[in-house]
Symmetry: C2
Subunit: 125 residues, 2 copies
């Protein structure tokens, strides 16, 4: 499987796959004689995991910090709800991310209310 097919199978683009590789989320795949990247189903599964975690708001840097654990999540789905020990490190990262999200939400809410007060709107609909 070359990069275009692998990317399509994972629901993304060749550019993204090269980006994940360069970012340390994917190990460099083997190359064809001509130097073209070759992927298999496990690679595609891993990319799907990466994209799901990214879509949940984790950053590439977050995933890089636990890239070695990431393959533990590979398979048909992520472990249901707290399979003990299996992805402790990602869990910690997710928790920190949640805390950061809470902070950001609070900050934006304060901004919103400040602006609303400034123009004399009701605060919160």
């Amino acid at each position: 499987m070359r990069i275009g097919d692998a990317a399509a199978a994972a629901g993304t683009t060749p550019r993204a796959l090269r980006f994940y590789e360069q970012s340390g989320l994917l190990s460099p795949p083997r190359r064809s004689v001509a130097g073209q990247r070759e992927y298999d189903r496990r690679d595609v599964a891993r990319v799907r995991v990466i994209r799901e975690l990214l879509s949940l708001g984790l950053t590439v840097a977050d995933l890089r910090h636990c890239a070695d654990r990431l393959d533990l999540l590979e398979g048909d789905a992520l472990p249901p709800y707290g399979e003990p020990g299996v992805c402790a490190k990602p869990d910690g990262i997710a928790r920190r991310r949640i805390a950061a999200l809470d902070e950001e939400i609070t900050r934006l809410a304060r901004l919103r209310d400040g602006l609303a007060a400034r123009i004399g709107n009701d605060v919160r609909e």
Copy 2:
């Protein structure tokens, strides 16, 4: 008043003042014979208004779209609460910004809950 003093008086840096000028929020001030920018109290007041609106979450692009109205807000303070007609355009921009903030808050809250569910935390403490 040269740029350093004006910036200090407005609670910011020379770099920021040049940036506001370049961004179209401040009209180019007169220059000394040697080419140095000269500011007065009204300039400082305007910069304070700019900084207050930026701190409320408006962007430089927002302010540029109503830069001509911005001087209507200059003085000791922003008009209290909906002085009619005085800053209609900024008001509209502020309202759009509030809507954008609401969207963003909702988006982040959804992410937060998705992540929390993923690791089996209680949703919302």
